[in-house]
């Protein structure tokens, strides 16, 4: 169980510091006493089987837990006073979209079906203080940068007129619009066709690098995490069971569960191409 990020220039302190994070549904504990740190520009992956609590962890950090779930512990962000878990919604709203961006698993439902794509992208710019005129121009740039063809037409489209991959690009454009310090990705490629998974992953990689964003990347796919992340946390049953630099964890797994994940991934490696859709 070794750690500390072995990379990068001198950093003033961690960007995000989570300690003792616990999530409960009524009396049952779903996430049990998780602590983690993310340095500026660091890329941290969380892997684990479904139900291991990796998605909940990221929702808890973003303060977007489903109703009925409560989080305790502390989440601190560099430059923000106090524990984010107890920060009023009004202040959290200023952080979200500005200092943090989020990409979700399901691009088909993540966008408002009755609002034009352009407006949905512009909204995140307008919310954090950009004028309407500038936002409109900026939307074109953002859509171009995420690799969408004919951004003018895309901006005027509704989500149902775009493909899954295109929608996920729009979501990434929204998440990265204000060049956030932290980008949280919750299984961003899982719901996509195999053919577009790689390009979307590539896009996240490039955009995060261009904006100097740190990354918290949730996935069950070890290969993806290995490509994107510096450091990885392995979750099982609501706890972190192992963590360390990606190469180390994947080559010399300590925990039995990590080994099983690796074994499953190797088994599934050849099949995944043909079996996924």
């Amino acid at each position: 169980m070794t750690t500390t990020a072995p990379q990068q220039k001198s950093v003033p302190g961690p960007l995000l510091e989570v300690s003792g994070l616990t999530v409960r549904a009524g009396s049952s504990v779903l996430i049990d006493d998780i602590s983690l740190q993310i340095a500026q520009r660091e890329r941290v992956g969380i892997i684990g089987a479904s139900g291991s609590g990796k998605s909940l962890t990221c929702m808890a950090i973003a303060q977007l837990l489903p109703e009925g779930l409560t989080a305790s512990g502390s989440v601190r962000m560099d430059g923000e006073d106090g524990n984010l878990l107890t920060t009023p919604e009004r202040r959290l709203a200023r952080i979200r979209g500005q200092r943090t961006g989020m990409v979700f698993q399901e691009p088909m439902t993540a966008l408002n079906p009755t609002m034009r794509v352009g407006r949905q992208v512009a909204e995140v710019l307008r919310l954090h203080g950009m004028s309407a005129g500038r936002a409109r121009a900026e939307v074109q740039d953002l859509l171009t940068v995420v690799g969408l063809p004919d951004p003018q037409r895309i901006a005027k489209s509704y989500p149902h007129q775009l493909s899954g991959g295109q929608r996920q690009r729009v979501v990434i454009a929204i998440a990265m619009a204000n060049s956030p310090d932290l980008l949280i990705c919750d299984e961003p490629t899982t719901a996509l066709d195999v053919t577009v998974q790689a390009t979307v992953l590539d896009l996240i990689d490039r955009r995060a690098a261009a904006a100097d964003s740190a990354l918290l990347f949730i996935s069950h796919d070890l290969a993806v995490v290995a490509r994107i992340c510096d450091r990885v946390l392995v979750m099982y049953g609501g706890r972190i069971v192992e963590q360390g630099p990606v190469t180390e964890v994947l080559t010399k797994p300590q925990h039995e569960h990590t080994r099983r994940l690796l074994a499953d991934a190797d088994l599934g490696g050849e099949q995944s191409e043909s079996s996924t859709r």
Binding site: L65, P66, E67, T70, E89
Partner: protein, 292 residues
């Protein structure tokens, strides 16, 4: 947590208090109790009411609760309100049963038919249903009253016919689900006749929906009857009816409000009762069928 409209919701009113098969749903029980109470009051009134409903206690007209042995007081003519309410419950039962009965008996087979026949026939049937939907109960009742004169029978038939479309729609959507199921597919492969499938598989499975719809339609029928009686095209002067009681109480409303309050309460409670019963039963029956 504070107000969070984006969090995944659990609906406490229609689903929560124990609805998920954890013992009886409180609202369902309340609804059932009210419905049974109305039914008992109505049935008992056949044999006994505290006073004869035609008896006018002129010495004790418009008195309050308890005066002259009148449990809930008397109306403008001195008739016993409790007795009138009981007899009114009888009329309510009668109208509801006949109206809902007409709708269920005609609507259920048509709904099953609409689910089983080829698309172009069902399309036509559903268009006819939509057309009938444009004739609400009150309008149909007034149209019939123009032909046969107003009255409780006309009202019942009109309300019944106007309620048919809702049965057709509900039963059809339920039947479509049943027809997709594996055991029906199996029965088809086994060569059972269409009629046999409809009778043995579809009908028993949509019966729950029919009961739910009956309860909800019953509430609507009560309101429609009250409206018609108020207009003078429902219960005649000799038929005790809650709607008629309201209409007659209008002239004394500002000076003797209780004469209005009692039948008003009776209507409101009965309607709430049937609605709660319907909602509660809907939660009970197969959620697959409860969809729409």
């Amino acid at each position: 947590m504070s107000l969070d409209p984006t969090a995944r919701p659990v609906d406490p009113v229609t689903a929560a208090p124990g609805a998920n098969r954890r013992g009886p749903n409180a609202l369902l029980v309340i609804g059932a109790v009210i419905v049974v109470a109305v039914a008992v009051a109505g049935v008992v009134s056949f044999f006994w009411t505290p006073f004869d409903t035609g008896f006018t206690d002129t010495a004790n007209a418009k008195v309050g609760m308890g005066v002259g042995g009148h449990l809930l007081g008397t109306d403008r003519l001195g008739r016993d309100i409790a007795s009138l309410l009981m007899a009114g419950a009888k009329t309510t039962l009668y109208v509801g049963i006949v109206a809902v009965g007409i709708a269920a008996v005609i609507g259920t087979p048509l709904g099953i038919l609409a689910a089983m026949v080829p698309r172009r026939y069902s399309e036509f049937l559903m268009r006819c249903t939509d057309l009938l939907l444009a004739f609400p109960a009150l309008l149909l009742a007034l149209m019939f009253a123009a032909i046969w004169g107003g009255g409780i029978t006309t009202a019942m038939i009109a309300i019944g016919i106007a309620t048919i479309p809702s049965f057709i729609r509900v039963v059809r959507s339920g039947a479509l689900v049943v027809l997709e199921s594996e055991y029906v597919q199996a029965a088809r492969v086994a060569g059972r006749s269409r009629l046999g499938i409809a009778w043995n598989h579809v009908l028993p499975n949509v019966l729950g929906l029919v009961i739910v719809q009956s309860s909800v339609s019953y509430a609507i029928a009560i309101l429609a009857e009250a409206g018609l009686s108020y207009l003078g095209f429902g219960a005649g002067l000799t038929t005790p009816s809650w709607g008629l009681m309201l209409q007659e109480s209008q002239s004394t409303l500002s000076s003797y409000p209780m004469i209005t309050v009692w039948p008003a309460l009776a209507i409101a409670i009965a309607v709430v009762g049937f609605n709660l019963l319907g909602d509660g039963l809907r939660d009970r029956f197969d959620p697959r069928l409860a969809g729409r």
